[in-house]
C-alpha cells in the first residue's frame, strides 16, 4: 500500500484524525505519515490490526528536533509599474515553527513487509511537548521513548515508566536538542602536576 492509500484508510476509519503525507527527498524516497497527536494512539492500533498491513513490529523510534526555520520562496507576481502590467519576482518569507518529532519505523513480521513510517509531532519545542506514548501498542517503544524523553524532552503521556534512560537523575537539560549548550566545566583549574604535586606544594 502506498502512504496515500494508508492515509485515506486511516482518515476513513478514525473520524477527526488528520494525516499528512510527509515527502522524502532521498533517492529511494519513502514518504512518511504524520499523524496528529490527538489520534496517534488510535491510528497506531489501526495500523497494527489492519489485515493488509499487520504492522506487528515497531523496529525503531527516533526523536528529531526541528528548530524554527525561515523559508524564503521566490514568487512571480504581476505588478503595475508605471501603468503597465509587468511580471516581477518577489521573495516571500514564511516561518515554520520549531517542533519535536518522534519517528516510528513499523514493519510486519507476519507479512514480511515494511517499513511504514509514522511521525508524531509536538506543538512546539518549549512548553507543549506532550504526545501519546505508543508503548501500549508496541512494547519495543518502551526504552526508546524513554531515551527520547531523556535526550529530547518529549513527554510521552500514557507511558508506563517514563524516566530518564541514559543521563543521570537530577540532570535537567536535554542534550540531543540542536540548541543544547553543555554547562561549563566546573572542575576548576587543573594542577598539571596532579594530586602528588598539590600535596607537595601544600607542604
Amino acid at each position: 500500500m502506498t502512504p496515500e492509500q494508508i492515509r485515506s484508510e486511516i482518515e476513513a476509519a478514525i473520524p477527526g484524525c488528520s494525516v499528512e503525507v510527509a515527502p522524502n527527498g532521498a533517492v529511494p524516497g519513502q514518504a512518511s505519515l504524520a499523524v496528529d497527536r490527538l489520534h496517534a494512539l488510535e491510528a497506531a492500533w489501526f495500523l497494527r490490526r489492519h489485515p493488509g498491513l499487520l504492522l506487528d513490529f515497531c523496529s525503531n523510534v527516533a526523536g528529531v528536533d526541528w528548530l524554527d526555520r525561515e523559508i524564503s520562496e521566490k514568487v512571480k507576481v504581476r505588478k503595475l509599474v508605471d501603468g503597465v502590467e509587468q511580471e516581477a519576482e518577489e521573495t516571500r518569507k514564511s516561518k515554520i515553527p520549531g517542533r519535536l518529532e518522534a519517528v516510528y519505523h513499523l514493519f510486519s513480521i507476519e507479512k514480511k513487509q515494511g517499513p511504514v513510517i509514522l511521525r508524531v509531532r509536538t506543538e512546539n519545542r518549549s512548553d507543549r511537548v506532550e504526545i501519546p506514548s505508543l508503548t501500549p501498542v508496541w512494547r519495543s517503544a518502551e526504552f526508546q521513548e524513554r531515551e527520547i524523553f531523556d535526550l529530547y524532552g518529549i513527554v510521552f503521556t500514557g507511558h508506563p515508566d517514563l524516566r530518564r534512560l541514559l543521563m543521570w537523575e537530577g540532570f535537567t537539560d536535554h542534550p540531543m536538542r540542536k540548541d543544547y549548550v553543555p554547562p561549563p566545566e566546573d572542575d576548576g583549574p587543573q594542577d598539571p602536576r596532579g594530586a602528588v604535586g598539590k600535596e607537595a606544594a601544600a607542604g
Binding site: A26, F57, H105, I109, I117, S140, A141, F143, E169
Partner: protein
C-alpha cells in the same frame, strides 16, 4: 552489592534496603552491578527479591553513555565510520556495513560485486566469533570456568588475525566505505580464510560436544527464561533471540541486502524460547555462517572494490531521510539518517539491538532465582558500548 535504590519508586510502607511488604514476607532490594561480573560491562539491574525469588527487575543504563549520536551529527558522514566500530566493539565489521548500507541507500551508491562478497565474508566471520564468544561467556557464567571461553577465544584469535591482515586492526577495523570497502584483500588472504573455514567444522563439533549434553547445562538452561513468540515480536526482540522463540525472521532472508540471495543457507529456529534454545541457536547459526563463508570464498569475483562515484570527502547527500538495517550478530542493527543537504547528517540515530532486546529482561526473570538472572542475561547477548552508545 546490597543498597537502597533511588530509582525504584517506593510503595507505601517501604523504608529502606530491607522492607516489609505484606504479612510475613520481606523484600530485599539488590543492585546487581554496575560492576557485577555477569554484566560484562557497566550495567546495573535493580532487583527486588522475596527470598531467592525475583519479584521485580529494572535495568539501569547510561554508565557508558557518550552521546554517540550527537558526536556523529557534528562530524562528516565518513567521520563517524570509525566511531561505529565502538558501538558493538566485538562486531565492528557488521557495524561498518550497517552504516555504509544506510548511506548508500541515501546517496544511491552501488558497491561493486567483489565488495559485496567481501562484506558478506567479513560479516559472517564476525558472526562466528561473536557467537563463539557469547557461548563461552554464557557457560562461564554458569560456572564452566575458563575452558569453553578459551576454546572460543582460540578460534576468535584466528578470525582477528584475518581482520588485522586485511584492515590493519584487530577489533576497530574501520574497513567499509560508502560504495565498497577501503582496501582490497591482500595476497594470500583468501587462502588463509579458506584454511580457517576448512578447520571450522572440527572446532564446531568439538565446541558443541563440550557441554551441549552436560546435565548441569541442561538443568540450568532448559525451561529458564522463557520468552513467548508473541511477546518477543511485540517487544521488538530481534536476532537469534527472536528466532529461538520460533519466529522465522532473518533479515538476510527478508531484506536480502547485499548478495545474500546468492547463498543457500538455513535459518535455525527454536521451539520453546528458553536459554537452552538461545544457546543452541548460536551453535547452529555458526554452522550456517561457515557454510556461507565457504560459498562466498569459492565464488568471490574479481574486479573493483569501490563504486567510482564514491567520494571520500565532501559527501553531500540530497535532503531526505533513510532507514537502513542489517542482521547483525545480536539482532537488527539499524541506522536512521536525515540529511539536510550539508556535509554532516542532521539526524543520526542508531537502533541498538542489544538495548531493545533487554526490554523483555524483566519478563524473563520474574519468579526465577538470582542465579537464573545471570544465565538469562548471558543468553541475551549484550555489549554495553551499543546499549548505552
Amino acid at each position: 552489592m546490597i543498597s537502597s535504590l533511588k530509582e525504584m519508586p517506593r510503595e507505601a510502607g517501604e523504608t529502606g534496603g530491607m522492607a516489609g511488604s505484606g504479612a510475613g514476607s520481606q523484600l530485599l532490594e539488590v543492585a546487581m552491578g554496575p560492576h557485577h561480573p555477569s554484566t560484562h560491562g557497566v550495567f546495573r539491574m535493580d532487583v527486588q527479591l522475596e527470598g531467592e525469588r525475583v519479584v521485580r527487575l529494572k535495568p539501569v543504563f547510561g554508565y557508558l553513555h557518550r552521546n554517540h549520536e550527537q558526536i556523529a551529527e557534528k562530524t562528516s558522514y565518513l567521520g563517524s565510520m570509525p566511531y561505529t566500530d565502538r558501538l558493538d566493539y566485538l562486531c565492528s565489521m557488521s557495524n561498518n556495513w550497517a552504516y555504509a548500507l544506510t548511506v548508500e541507500k541515501l546517496t544511491g551508491l552501488q558497491p561493486p560485486e567483489r565488495a559485496e562478497y567481501i562484506r558478506v565474508i567479513m560479516a559472517e566471520l564476525t558472526r562466528v566469533q561473536n557467537h563463539a564468544g557469547l557461548i563461552g561467556f554464557l557457560l562461564q557464567d554458569m560456572g564452566a570456568s575458563g575452558t569453553p571461553l578459551m576454546y572460543a577465544f582460540r578460534e576468535r584469535e584466528k578470525i582477528l588475525d584475518l581482520f588485522e591482515w586485511v584492515s590493519g586492526a584487530r577489533m576497530m577495523c574501520n574497513y567499509m566505505r560508502f560504495g565498497g570497502v577501503r582496501v582490497d584483500l591482500p595476497e594470500g588472504w583468501v587462502e588463509g580464510a579458506l584454511a580457517f573455514v576448512e578447520r571450522a567444522p572440527r572446532f564446531l563439533d568439538e565446541y558443541e560436544g563440550l557441554l551441549r549434553n552436560s546435565e548441569i547445562v541442561m538443568a540450568r538452561t532448559q525451561g529458564v527464561g522463557l520468552l513467548p513468540a508473541e511477546l518477543a515480536v511485540n517487544a521488538g526482540v530481534t536476532g537469534p533471540m527472536l528466532r529461538a522463540s520460533g519466529v522465522n525472521y532473518d533479515l538476510r532472508k527478508v531484506d536480502r541486502y547485499g548478495v545474500y540471495d546468492r547463498f543457500s543457507f538455513r535459518v535455525p529456529l527454536g521451539e520453546k524460547g528458553d536459554v537452552y534454545d538461545r544457546y543452541m541457536m548460536r551453535l547452529l547459526e555458526m554452522r550456517e555462517s561457515v557454510s556461507i563463508l565457504a560459498q562466498a570464498l569459492r565464488d568471490l569475483p574479481g574486479g573493483p572494490i569501490l563504486d567510482p562515484k564514491s567520494k571520500l570527502r565532501g559527501l553531500r547527500p540530497k535532503a531526505g531521510e533513510v532507514y537502513g538495517r542489517i542482521e547483525a550478530p545480536k539482532g537488527e542493527l539499524g541506522f536512521y539518517l536525515i540529511s539536510d543537504g550539508s556535509t554532516n547528517p542532521y539526524r543520526y540515530r542508531v537502533r541498538p539491538p542489544s538495548l531493545i532486546n533487554l526490554t523483555v529482561l524483566e519478563d524473563m526473570c520474574l519468579d526465577r532465582s538470582v542465579a537464573d538472572v545471570v544465565v538469562i542475561l548471558g543468553s541475551v547477548d549484550i555489549v554495553l558500548g551499543e546499549v548505552d552508545r
